[in-house]
Structure formats: C-alpha cells, structure tokens
C-alpha cells in the first residue's frame, strides 16, 4: 500500500467530499467526522511520505500506469514532501476547529456542502503540491480556487460576497495567464511533464516564447499568491471569509501558490534560466522588498483584527519571494522555512480570531479591551503567535528571518537587511498594539488603576470551548518546538533547497 501513498494523500479528501454529499440524507451528521478523518489520514500519509523521501530519495508515481511524459506523474521530492506536511497539518488542525464554528457561521443547513467544499479545497491543494505535470497543476489549482471562492462567499458579513466575486475574477485571470504559459511551453516542446520539460527547455532558453511564458507564469501565480501589486483581492477575501476558511486561505492557499511558483521556476525552468537569462533576481528583489514594506505599512492602518492579519500576509509573502532573489542556498532555505513558519503562525492567529468571533462576535481591535482576562488561553496563544510573526528568537519566525538576512549578506545585498528588519519592526508595532489592548487595557465600565482592585480580579473567565482553543495552541507550540529544535525544519529545507538549485 505504501507505494500508493502519493495518490492516496490527494484522493482521500476528494473522495471524502463525494461521500459527504452522498450521505447527506442520512439522519445523523457525519460530514465533520469524515472531513477530519480524511485530512488526518492525509496528514499521516504525508508524514510517512516525507520520511521515505528523506531517507531514500524522491518518489515517482505513474497514474494509470502510463509512464511519463505520456501519462501523468506524481512526484514527491524533498520540497513537495515538506510543503505537503505543512499544508496537511494546517488543514487537519483547522478542520478540528471547524466542528463548532461552521454551524454558527454558515448556518445549520449549510454544513454538508461546507464540509464537502472544505475537503475539496484541501484535496485540491494537496494535488497541486504532489503533481509533476503542468496541466494537472492547473486543474487542481482550479478545484481549490473554486472551492475557495464559494467558501469566502458564505462569510458572515454582507460584503463577503463582493469579496468573493473580486477574488473569483482576479483568481481566474491568474489561473488563465498560467494556462497561457502552459500552452506556450507546450507548443515549444510538445510536453507537459515537468521533468521532461526541464530536459527540453535548455536548448531553447533564448526563445522569446519561453521568456514570455515565464513572465506569464510569474504574473499569474503572483496574482494567486497576492504578491504586492496584485494583492488587492486578498485583504477582503481573507478578512471576510468564515473563520475556518481564513486560516486555510492565508496559511495554505497562497503558500501553495508560492510553492507552485518555485516549482515552475526551479524544476521546470532551471536556476540557470531564472538567474542568468531573465532579470528575475532584480524583479523579485524589488517585488519582495516592496511587498514586505508596503504590506506591513498597510497593516498598520487596519482596525479589524482579521483584516489586519490578512494584510500582514501580503507582507509575509514578500519574505518568501525575497528569499528567491538572492539566488543562493541560504536565501532559498530562508524562503522554504518561512513557508512553514508563516503557515502555522498565521493559521493559529486566524484561528484565535475565529474563536474570538465565536465567543463574542467582536472583530474590531479597539473593542478587545480586557479580553486577556476573559479568554486567557486564546489570548496567550495569540500573543505567542504574534511574537513568532515578529521573529523573536526561539520561534520559527526567527529562523527564517535569520536565514534570509544571512542570504542577503551572502549575496552582497546588505541593503536588504535593514528592509527585513524594518518590516519586522512594523510587525512588532501592529502586533504590539493588539497585545497591549488585549492584556493591559481594561474596559471602561470596569475601571482601572489600583483603586478598584477587587473588581477585575473576579472577572469571570469565559474561555472558548476546548475544541476551539486547542487547535491554535497546537500550532503555536509547534512553532516554539521547531523554533528550538530548528535543525529539523532547517535540515529539511536545506535538502529541498539543494534539490531545487540542482546542487549535490
């Protein structure tokens, strides 16, 4: 059975969604159980895959038994295995969280279709990660995107539906530009298989079509990952989506788009093309740097907590892109570690925001006064998550920052270091604001100072249920564990980076 793991990780959630819809007429409700079980299975399988890949090299799986390039091929190598574990983990943890929250936010009558779409979204993302075929990637991109559009649309606020529409239009433009890129590669080489393409492309690197296709890939996927000038759809969509969906969108969907971009850059087009033929380094440097600063700067102005988190994703995507622009191993390791770090931290932050909404319905930052005393566990989780995002040592956030800065210095781009640090400072400012309000500002009605001491000592603790508190807590603790045991993600990322850069 183990040899079929690459396909099982994708097909289990997808089939789960079929079964969910098939069973909806039964008396008892199983949709949550099926979804959680499916994502959990996928998570276990992906762990086993990562283990196999790490010990004995890439796994190739021929779908339908047809050898590539004629058939479709699934490839799990050290990079996709790594990202797969991250994404399956986040989607599993989030689905645990979903049990209570969905009923309240989407309505009792919508849970079946909600969970069916959730599984499809997860399955689509896994499919993007493991596929070794450019067109197959497009198909799974569309599965996950379509599910994403609809799920954003059921957000509680009225405007969510408009956000969903804008997301759909821009997402489709991005995907279609990607498709044109695929077409141009196809007409120049006659193949769609990534490994085959990377064999055929070097001979025609100078061709204008190939360069144009590269530009289309980058622009299309940049739209999907909301890189700076194309970020317009993200804050609305991520900020207004239901609280179960925001973490998936911010932690998985855009990360997977980033993954796809790196896949296209390094596996299809080789590093030789990216760094020598086209001015990708300069473009990424500019794009990433500006994204970091502008993203962080825009975040400062937000008054809604989910919107703030959403804007911060724009800046964080900049980090990932920036790591590519150094064209060296260290920078790439930074990017890859940041994928992991951002995924778990941002997901946990969004989940805490979700339990806040579940419990109180508040999203305005200014109304969070005194929350630290009412929901201490959730808010502690939020605080640690925020520290991780800032990049305080002993969290994974620090590891990626460290590697990125070293990568910049190694590449001789010392002027990037202040940019990275400035962005970290801006992060500190906007998260610090929230933390201060949550913990140290008391409600006006309750009074402050030490004159009315007895009063807020006794404030009744009103923590969210365990199933809402635990998931973000797990993610945050992982960030700490892997911040201390950083050699684990770093070793994995180093292996992935060596593979992408074609180094021994």
């Amino acid at each position: 059975m183990a040899e079929h793991f690459p396909i099982l990780v994708v097909i289990i959630p997808i089939m789960a969604s079929f079964i969910i819809l098939l069973l909806w007429r039964t008396k008892h409700r199983y949709e949550w159980h099926i979804t959680t079980a499916a994502t959990f299975l996928s998570f276990l399988i992906s762990l086993s895959l990562l283990n196999t890949v790490f010990l004995s090299g890439p796994i190739r799986y021929w779908l339908g038994g047809w050898e590539p390039p004629w058939g479709i091929e699934y490839v799990v190598d050290s990079f996709s295995g790594y990202v797969l574990v991250v994404v399956t983990l986040v989607s599993f943890v989030t689905s645990v969280f979903a049990a209570k929250s969905v009923k309240k936010e989407a309505g009792e009558g919508r849970t079946v279709s909600f969970f069916a779409l959730y599984s499809l979204l997860a399955g689509g993302l896994y499919g993007i990660i493991v596929t070794g075929d450019l067109f197959n990637l497009y198909v799974f991109l569309e599965i996950s995107s379509l599910a994403g559009y609809a799920l954003v649309g059921v957000g509680k606020k009225k405007r969510a539906i408009v956000a969903s529409y804008n997301y759909l239009i821009l997402g489709t433009i991005g995907a279609t530009l990607y498709l044109i890129g695929v077409g141009q590669l196809y007409i120049m080489t006659g193949t769609l298989n990534m490994a085959d393409l990377s064999q055929k492309l070097p001979a025609i690197f100078e061709s204008k079509v190939i360069i144009a296709a590269f530009a289309l890939f980058i622009v299309g996927l940049s739209i999907k990952m909301a890189l700076f000038p194309f970020h317009a759809w993200l804050p609305d969509a991520h900020g207004l989506a239901p609280s179960v969906i925001s973490p998936i969108l911010s932690a998985c969907v855009i990360e997977v788009a980033a993954y796809a971009m790196m896949r296209v850059m390094f596996t299809v087009y080789t590093p030789a093309f990216v760094f020598k033929v086209v001015p990708a380094k300069e473009v990424f440097l500019l794009g990433g740097g500006v994204a970091m600063l502008v993203g962080s700067y825009l975040t400062l102005a937000q008054t809604d907590i989910k919107r703030m988190l959403a804007y911060s994703s724009v800046g964080q995507m900049g980090y990932i892109i920036l790591g590519l622009s150094f064209a060296n191993h260290t920078g790439l390791v930074g990017s890859i570690v940041h994928i992991f770090s951002h995924a778990i931290l941002k997901a946990s932050l969004f989940l805490v925001a979700g339990s806040l909404i579940y419990k109180t319905g508040i999203t305005e930052i200014s109304r969070l006064k005194g929350m630290g005393k009412k929901m201490p566990l959730s808010m502690a989780t939020f605080t640690i998550g925020a520290l991780g995002m800032i990049g305080i040592p002993l969290t994974t956030g620090f590891i990626s920052e460290w590697k990125l800065a070293l990568g910049a210095l190694e590449a001789g781009k010392w002027f990037i270091v202040p940019v990275i640090l400035l962005s970290a400072l801006l992060n500190a400012v906007y998260f610090g604001r929230v933390i201060e309000i949550v913990w140290f500002k008391t409600d006006e009605e309750e009074g402050h100072g030490h004159k009315e001491i007895g009063k807020h000592e006794k404030t009744s603790i009103d923590e969210a249920p365990l199933s809402l508190v635990l998931p973000p807590f797990i993610l945050v603790s992982l960030s700490i564990i892997f911040g201390i045991g950083a050699f684990i993600p770093v070793t994995l990322a180093e292996k992935a980076a060596s593979m992408l850069l074609g180094m021994p």
């Binding site: 800032i390 210095l409 400012v429 610090g432 000592e457 911040g483």
Partner: protein, 492 residues
C-alpha cells in the same frame, strides 16, 4: 584556564522556570504559598550560582552545550568569572527584592500579583541567561526574554500613563534590538563564521577597520538596555512600574544585563587589542562621558524622585561602559566592579523611594520636606546609598570610582578623569539636597501621623545599605572575579 562541563548553569536557569507553575497554581487565593515559592526559588537559585564560585575562582570555566538550533546557531552556556560576577549580583538581589516585593505589594494591595511574581521569575531567568550565555545568539535570546517579560511588569498599573510608558519601553528596547543588534549579529556571523565568545575576540583580522567600526556602532546602538544616549529615554519612561520592579530590574537586572552585554561584546567579540588598535575604545569612552555628564545634569532638573534616580542610573551605567572602554587593566577593573557597587547603592535608593511612597504617599522631592523625622531609618539608608553612589569612602562606590580614576590615569586620559570628578560632584548635587531637605526641612502637617513602612520593606533596604558599606571592607569575592576577568583578557 581549563574548561569543565557541568549542568550547574542549567540548573540555576531552570529554578525560576520550575517555580512558575507553582506560583501560578498557588495563585491569587493563597498568597502566602505563592510568595513562599518565590522566595524558595530565589534562595535555591542563589545557592546554585554561589556553588559555582569556588571552581570559577580557581580559574575554571564551566561550560554546557544545551542544543544546536541548527548548524551555526547553538544555545550554549559558559560560566566564566565575568558571567558569574553578574549572576551572583542578580541572584542575590532577587532574594532581597522578593522580600521587599511582598511588603510593597501587600501595602498597596496591588492587583494581578500572580502575574507580577511570574513575570519577575521569568525576568530573572532572562537575566541569568544573559550572564551565562556563551555566544551572541544565546545572549540575544535571553536579552529578548528579559525585554518581553519585563513589559508586563512595567505596564502593571494599567493606567494610561503606564501604558504609554510601557509602550515607549518596548519600542526602544525591542526596536533597537531588532534594528541594530540583529544586523550586527548577522554581520558578525558573516564575517567571523562563528558567534562564540572568546577572550581574544572573534573579529580580529577578519574584516576591514571600516566594517569593524560599522559592526561596533551597530552593537552599541543595538544594546538599548545599556541606556546610552540617545537611547536612554526608555529608562525614565519605565519608572511608571511598581518600585520593586524599578529597583531590581531597572537598577540591576535589566540595565546591568545591558551593560553586561556591551562589555561582553567589547571584550569577547571585538577583543581589547582590536579595539585599541582601531581606536574605537577611546571613541566609546568619550561617548560614554557625554552620557555621564548630560544625564547627571538632567537628573538635577527632576522633581520626581524615581525619575531623578532613573537619570542617575543612566549616568552611572555609562561609568561602567567608560571603564571598559578605557581598555586598560585598572579601568576595566573599575568598570566591572562598578556593576556590583552601583547595584547595591542604587537598589537601596529605589527601595527607599518605595518605602517613602508607602509611608507618606509622596513621589515628588519638593513635597518631602522634613519626612526624615517621621521615617528616619529609611532616610538614613537613603543617605548611605547616596554616599555610596557619590563615591565616598567607606562605601563600595569609592572602590570602583578609585579604579576608574586609576584607569583613566593609566590610559593617559585626563579629560576622562575630569569627567569622573565632575560627575561625582554632580551626584552629590542631586542626592544630598534630598537628604538635607528630609532631615532639616519643614514637615507638612498632613504627615503628622506618618510612620515607617512595614518591616518587610524596611529590613531589605537597611540590609542593602549595610552591604554597600561592607563591600568597601570586604570586596574579595567580587574583586577576585573581576581580577580574574581582567587577567583573562589582558593575558597576564
């Protein structure tokens, strides 16, 4: 100098961490149990730290490798004479401050005391970690832990001005650390390929003088806790904290962690040979002198007692940096000794300020006329503490200043000598009037029924005042550690 492996440093570090769950469990409902744990933890920690003294005095260096984050980034601990020196001061004063805290917090019936004690324990963990860190990354980690764990202490009152002050506190400390300290570490790593401290310095011969100077400036600016101008204004702002916090953290743990880090960087990253070769030591010395004078003058203008103490701290911290930057044996000796001398003197003064606040509910110096008659013990202790800071014999402060003077003569820096003397004069000018006013001023009638604070508060401050006198006569443990440090650095 031999190195031995031992888990003693780890044990010492773990003590406050282990204490935290106990403190939290005891919680608000059983304050006595909670405070018992605090005191027990502080005593155990001190004993463990002190147990390392004989071995370190015998010239050994205790090392422990905790873990490797990833290749090139290790969490290592190393107890040498200098680290132990700081560790002893911090852990000993924690005991005294714990007693004082109990009295102070109970007198005011403060809220959120559990949070207070927990954060206190974490800060001590941070401070001790700074003392025992073996490389730049470890020191940075504990430095940040210290910053973050003191933030809830500073903001403790939760009043608007507390929030404002704490915001400034965090902005300065975290901001400088991220903006300057981190890039300095990045550059160091790129240049030297290692971050481990070494007696000879790790940067020597690895980079151009310009690069060295850039890294040096980044480090000095990045270690905001040393309160060098222009990054000093967080310290007065942090005075919104409860007095025990100001006393232990802003006279000892936090600020001393700052200067300790500066000294570590100067001694063990750059190395004194490299610095004197490039002339950066002298530059730093003049920079520190500037801070000494300006801060002293600013202290003169303050009416709020704690603010005046804060500015005095700013100025005194620069003595330490000044001593180190003289790069002469005597000067370094003076700087290192000043860490302990100033700690005991200044903590006495802060304790007194807290005691005054409890007893007469006054914060401003102008309102303290005649209180000496009502609270004579406190004010006398204040007097002793002030004399120690000014540098009168027979107080500990004299010893360190004497070495500083000798050091400046040794380095042929007459201007520095003048600075030290002028500043001592200024110290007198801003402390002695307080004492004079307290004993000989007209007493406000409202204070007629004022009396000394509880013995929980008074005993610790008397104790510290006496110790700062004892240190003049018996400075051996600290003196020997300082001498060992200097010997290791100068290689003779």
């Amino acid at each position: 100098m031999e190195t031995v492996k031992s888990i003693a440093p780890i044990c010492a570090l773990l003590v406050p961490l282990i204490a935290i769950p106990f403190i939290a469990l005891a919680g608000q409902r059983r304050p006595n149990v909670r405070e018992f744990w605090t005191i027990l933890a502080s005593v155990i920690m001190f004993l463990i730290v002190a147990s390392m003294l004989p071995r370190v005095q015998g010239g050994e260096v205790i090392e422990y490798q905790l873990l490797t984050l990833f290749p090139g980034l290790d969490l290592n601990f190393r107890v040498d004479a200098f680290g132990l020196f700081f560790g002893l001061v911090a852990s000993f004063l924690w005991i005294i401050t714990s007693f004082y805290s109990i009295g102070y917090m109970r007198s005011f019936n403060e809220h959120a005391q559990t949070r207070y004690y927990i954060c206190f324990a974490i800060s001590l963990f941070g401070a001790l970690g700074v003392a025992f860190a073996a490389n730049l990354i470890t020191i940075l980690i504990f430095y940040e832990i210290l910053t973050l764990s003191t933030y809830p202490l500073v903001i403790h009152e939760e009043t608007p001005e507390a929030i404002k002050g704490a915001r400034r506190y965090l902005t300065y400390l975290l901001g400088t650390s991220i903006a300057f300290n981190l890039p300095a570490i990045f550059l160091t790593y790129t240049v030297a390929q290692t971050l481990e401290f070494s007696n000879a310095g790790i940067l020597a011969g690895k980079a151009s003088p310009l690069m060295i100077a850039v890294i040096f400036i980044l480090f000095i600016a990045g270690i905001g806790k040393s309160a060098m101008m222009p990054f000093h204004s967080w310290l007065p702002a942090a005075m919104v904290a409860p007095t025990p916090v100001s006393a232990l953290l802003h006279a000892v743990a936090v600020v001393k962690a700052g200067v300790f880090t500066v000294l570590r960087v100067v001694f063990h990253v750059f190395g004194i040979d490299l610095l004197s070769e490039i002339g950066l030591g002298t530059a730093l010395a003049y920079f520190a002198s500037f801070t000494i004078i300006v801060a002293s003058i600013m202290a003169l203008k303050q009416d709020n007692l704690k603010l005046r103490l804060a500015y005095s701290t700013v100025s005194q911290l620069s003595y330490i940096v000044l001593g180190a930057s003289l790069l002469s044996g005597k000067g370094m000796m003076g700087g290192i000794l000043h860490i302990v001398m100033h700690a005991f003197g200044k903590i006495t003064l802060f304790f007194c300020a807290g005691s005054i606040l409890i007893a007469v509910k006054r914060k401003n110096i102008s309102e303290m006329s005649g209180i000496g008659k009502k609270i004579p013990i406190t004010m006398f202790a204040f007097f002793l503490g002030a004399l120690s800071i000014i540098g009168f014999p027979p107080f500990g402060g004299f010893l360190s200043k004497w070495y500083l003077v000798l050091g400046s003569l040794e380095a042929n820096q007459i201007p520095i000598l003048i600075v030290i003397l002028t500043s001592s004069f200024l110290n007198g000018a801003y402390f002695l009037p307080i004492v004079y006013r307290a004993f000989f001023g007209e007493l406000d009638e409202k204070l007629n029924d004022a009396h000394e604070a509880s013995s929980w508060v008074v005993v610790p401050l008397v104790l510290t005042a006496l110790i700062s006198m004892v240190l003049f006569f018996y400075p051996q443990p600290f003196w020997r550690l300082a001498a060992l440090t200097v010997k290791g650095l100068t290689g003779g």
